[in-house]
């Protein structure tokens, strides 16, 4: 039959005026029909043959066999699927509404030991491909089917883990997850594991492994970290120096204390002066300990060579050293520093960095007062509950403007604890009472965030506190309703997942 089709097609393509068509009779039924066509009219014969061929092909087509092998079936699931109502909440977010609630949904579903429905997995995996911070939470709800899909699509390979738990051959994401988990339960074994392949690892991976040492950090880790100070990659050296600086009693921190301590002196008296002597040069040992020959530009100030060196030294020095040595509180030391013209910025930035590196909450709280360099972002490495406590303390003691007080809440990207939540609502009420002709756009951000950060079970409280009869209501009405809608959605969503 293909021969016939070819002959029809060849005439049809270049036209019967150039290649006349004569219908060829054939053995089968189609051939017989074609043979019966009137050959005197070449065009009509071709059209007729085309019609017969078309029907023959369409009605006679048989399915082919599959060229590809079937994929390995996915393993059976161990977790139950979320309810259809929860799936609907997820779909709502995929369709673009309440998208900021996704992380909360993922964590609640994982906490409830449930998995996302199969048809939602491609969209979830796609989100994880674009947004690395969501990968962990997504991986915890995709179930066996999700991991199976991760193995089929390169873009989702981050989710494919699980199969290959061999340290030697697994991918970076898998190994990091493994290492973090192991450091929590058996830090010695974790270090041992890392040491088996240390020299052959890429620099980026070595840096990541070092950051894992933050969990269960102890003097036993010191030898490996000291060796890293001689690593060929500067990133590795810096990461090791920072980790050693956090290790109380480590030789690096002793060395750094000696260097920084020599440079900073506090005078006597009721309002003591701080005097600072910049280091003259940067010797090998100091470079080895993580001090880089760079200039620094931080908010409000820039630091040339020698100032930058000292700033780095201070940042690697545990902040409690200064309080112990001078017998003063962080507030007092900051006040002394503020009184100098030359050194105020250097000391504040140095102590700020040190406080962040070491998680020194007393220093961070002191640095958050107006005029000092810390901001709510400085707290981001601390546990959420501690962040809330500090913000509450700062809120009550310092004299911030309303706009700044609203901004205090912005960077706390976790669900606010109840006392903090109540504080935020009081601040919003203040905002609503202000008579202003123009909308304050930056305050709106805090309002919009509130819907995602306030504990969902406070929704009735919020409805009572932010009521329509308040005068500022019209201007902010839409946003307030948005907050309440979002809280109700989250409440419903969390209730459904906990069933």
């Amino acid at each position: 039959m293909t021969n016939l089709n070819d002959s029809i097609l060849s005439s049809a393509l270049i036209g019967t005026e150039r290649r006349p068509f004569t219908p060829q009779p054939g053995d089968d039924a189609a051939g017989a029909l074609i043979g019966g066509l009137d050959s005197s009219d070449g065009e009509r014969a071709l059209l007729g043959a085309a019609a017969i061929a078309a029907q023959y092909q369409r009605a006679g087509s048989l399915p082919g066999k599959s060229a590809k092998k079937l994929p390995e079936p996915a393993p059976d699931e161990t977790l139950p699927r979320v309810s259809p109502a929860s799936a609907q909440h997820l779909m709502t977010m995929h369709n673009g509404r309440y998208t900021g609630v996704l992380l909360e949904w993922l964590e609640a579903a994982a906490g409830a030991g449930k998995r996302a429905p199969e048809e939602s997995l491609p969209a979830l995996l796609g989100i994880g491909a674009k947004n690395a911070t969501l990968r962990g939470p997504i991986a915890s709800v995709i179930g066996e089917r999700g991991r199976w899909l991760g193995g089929l699509n390169k873009a989702w390979s981050y989710a494919a883990g699980g199969e290959d738990d061999d340290w030697q051959t697994a991918g970076t994401e898998t190994r990091l997850a493994l290492l973090r988990a192991l450091r929590a339960s058996d830090p010695e074994a974790a270090r041992g594991l890392v040491e088996t392949t240390w020299d052959s690892e890429r620099a980026e991976d070595r840096v990541e492994f070092i950051t894992c040492f933050a969990t269960g950090l102890s003097a036993n880790d010191e030898p490996l970290l000291e060796r890293c100070l001689d690593d060929r990659s500067s990133k590795v050296r810096l990461a090791a120096a920072q980790m050693l600086a956090r290790l109380p009693g480590s030789q690096l921190s002793e060395r750094m204390i000696a260097r920084a301590g020599a440079a900073v002196v506090l005078g006597k008296g009721a309002r003591p002066q701080i005097s600072v002597t910049l280091p003259e040069m940067l010797d090998e040992a100091t470079r080895r300990d993580g001090i880089e020959d760079v200039t620094l530009s931080l908010s409000g100030a820039s630091f040339g060579e020698k100032s930058a060196w000292l700033l780095q030294m201070i940042s690697l020095t545990p902040p409690e050293y200064w309080c112990e040595r001078f017998g003063k509180s962080p507030q007092d030391l900051l006040a002394s520093a503020a009184r100098t013209d030359e050194w105020a910025m250097l000391l504040m930035h140095g102590w700020h960095r040190a406080a962040r590196l070491h998680g020194a909450t007393d220093w961070l709280m002191a640095l958050m007062s107006p005029g000092y360099v810390a901001s709510p972002e400085s707290l981001s490495d601390l546990p959420p509950a501690v962040q809330d406590q500090i913000i509450l303390a700062v809120y009550d003691t310092s004299k911030f403007e309303l706009a700044d007080r609203l901004h205090l809440f912005e960077k706390l990207d976790h669900v606010w604890s109840r006392p903090l939540a109540e504080k935020s609502i009081k601040t919003i009420q203040e905002l609503l009472k202000i008579k202003q002709d123009k909308r304050d756009w930056s305050s709106m951000r805090t309002l919009e965030l509130a819907g995602y950060r306030l504990p969902p079970d406070m929704v009735e409280y919020v409805q009572l506190q932010l009521r329509p009869d308040d005068e500022g209501w019209e201007r902010y009405a839409g946003t307030i309703r948005g907050i309440i809608d979002t809280m109700e959605f989250r409440k419903e969503m969390l209730e459904e997942l906990s069933k």
Binding site: L13, G15, E43, A51, S66, M91, L152
Partner: protein
């Protein structure tokens, strides 16, 4: 008898994602001044931006919606929002007796339904002036015959000069003759010609594809010109192929097929401003496929009474043809149940055999349905096909957007898949796996 609707079924009623989003915002009791339900109906008053709240009523049997808001979408966000609440949390809508304005609407509807029935009955009885009807039909027939004569000349011209020459022509080459067919009251031919205009630029294999369509168009033209010599069923197919309209009221006067009908799935296609909804059904006892078409212009309401994954007892009347497929719902029981499982072809071979029989009888059949009870999707999204247990495979159409969702649902194992089939590619509309229906596409 109250019917229970699941949230997925309600979501499927949304005319577009924007409506669904808006409905979600209204799916909480806070937005409603009042709400209530009884065995057959749900109602509510929703505060909008106007002074009076909008009154919303849902007849739960079909379902059918009514809302006093000015939106032209159907169902509107208020109806959907109320329905979503009812589906998710039935207890949040208090049971009670319907207020006056609800009762009025129900009464009016019942009245209208009665009137429509009476009209249909009387139309069947009333002898529509047969002479006038016949004259109109004769005039149409003449026009078509003239048009087809012209079409034949155009086609012979096309093959005389060759398809390669036609490939070099612009859109006007095809559009001109297509417009003439529409003028000649043969819009079906016009549509085929406009479709053919796109084939020369469609990539590899365009020559074979174009030749096939030319053959079918010629067959249609020749067939119609020999109408009287052909069996009635084929005459009906020829008229349908050319676009001769058939009145649904007339069809509904014919006897139908009683069966338990499962709604397999549906697909909505939009062509400029015309929306066409194809709902596919299968009769459980007869095993017959049925296609119910619904049309809507612009944002006018499209019928929502056939919900994928449900079944009902009813009588469907098939439109005449050699391979009956298109049907209309004549009567329907008040109960709509969730279907258990997807009835369909046990193998791809069985499905293709059924398709082959249909297309042999009616060459101008555009879309068929292949509900396949056990197939596994294989390949990546750009080369997706489904394989049955015998190893036979059919390709999934390139335009299918949810390839990964399909693969995710199957997990490498067979699932039941309801698809449209046009002879070239499958268009899945719904999947049945793990005891639940998932709507695709």
């Amino acid at each position: 008898m109250s019917t229970h609707w699941s949230p997925e079924q309600v979501t499927a009623l949304a005319p577009d994602p924007a409506s669904l989003k808006a409905a979600e915002g209204l799916a909480s009791p806070r937005k409603w001044v009042s709400m209530g339900q009884d065995a057959q109906t749900a109602w509510g008053e929703c505060q909008g931006s106007g002074s009076k709240p909008y009154q919303v009523i849902i007849d739960l049997g079909e379902p059918a919606f009514h809302c006093t808001c000015p939106s032209r979408k159907f169902p509107c966000k208020h109806g959907l929002g109320l329905f979503l609440q009812l589906a998710r949390k039935p207890d949040s809508v208090a049971a009670g007796s319907a207020p006056g304005w609800v009762g009025e609407w129900i009464a009016k509807r019942a009245e209208r339904a009665e009137k429509a029935e009476a009209k249909a009955a009387s139309q069947a009885e009333k002898a529509v002036d047969p002479a006038a009807q016949a004259k109109r039909a004769e005039q149409r027939h003449k026009k078509i015959m003239n048009g087809l004569a012209e079409l034949d000349l155009w086609l012979t011209d096309l093959v005389r000069r060759g398809l390669l020459a036609a490939q070099g022509q612009g859109y006007g080459y095809w559009d001109g003759i297509a417009a003439r067919m529409v003028d000649a009251q043969a819009p079906g031919a016009g549509r085929m010609l406009r479709e053919m205009a796109g084939i020369p630029a469609s990539g590899e294999g365009w020559q074979e594809r174009l030749l096939e369509r030319i053959g079918l168009l010629y067959l249609l033209s020749q067939g119609y010109q020999r109408l009287d010599a052909l069996p009635e069923a084929t005459q009906a197919d020829l008229r349908t192929g050319l676009g001769w309209p058939v009145k649904q009221e007339e069809i509904l006067t014919l006897p139908g097929l009683n069966d338990r009908w499962v709604v397999l799935g549906r697909r909505i296609v939009v062509d400029e401003k015309l929306k066409t909804q194809r709902s596919w059904l299968v009769g459980q006892a007869s095993g017959n496929l049925a296609l119910v078409l619904d049309f809507a212009f612009g944002s006018a309401p499209i019928d929502t009474s056939l919900i994928p994954g449900t079944e009902f007892d009813g009588e469907l009347v098939y439109y005449p043809g050699a391979a009956p497929l298109r049907a209309a719902v004549k009567t329907r029981g008040s109960e709509t149940r969730t279907a258990i499982g997807l009835p369909g072809f046990p193998s791809i071979a069985a499905g293709i055999e059924s398709y082959a029989a249909a297309i042999s009888a009616n060459p101008w059949l555009e879309t068929y349905a292949l509900p396949l009870t056990g197939v596994t999707p294989v390949g990546g999204p750009s080369s997706l096909h489904v394989v049955d247990t015998a190893g036979d495979a059919l390709p999934v159409a390139a335009g299918f957007q949810n390839g990964w969702e399909l693969i995710a649902l199957s997990g490498g194992r067979p699932l039941a898949l309801a698809c449209e089939w046009d002879g070239a590619g499958l268009m899945p509309v719904s999947a049945w796996v793990d005891g639940r229906l998932v709507i695709l596409g």
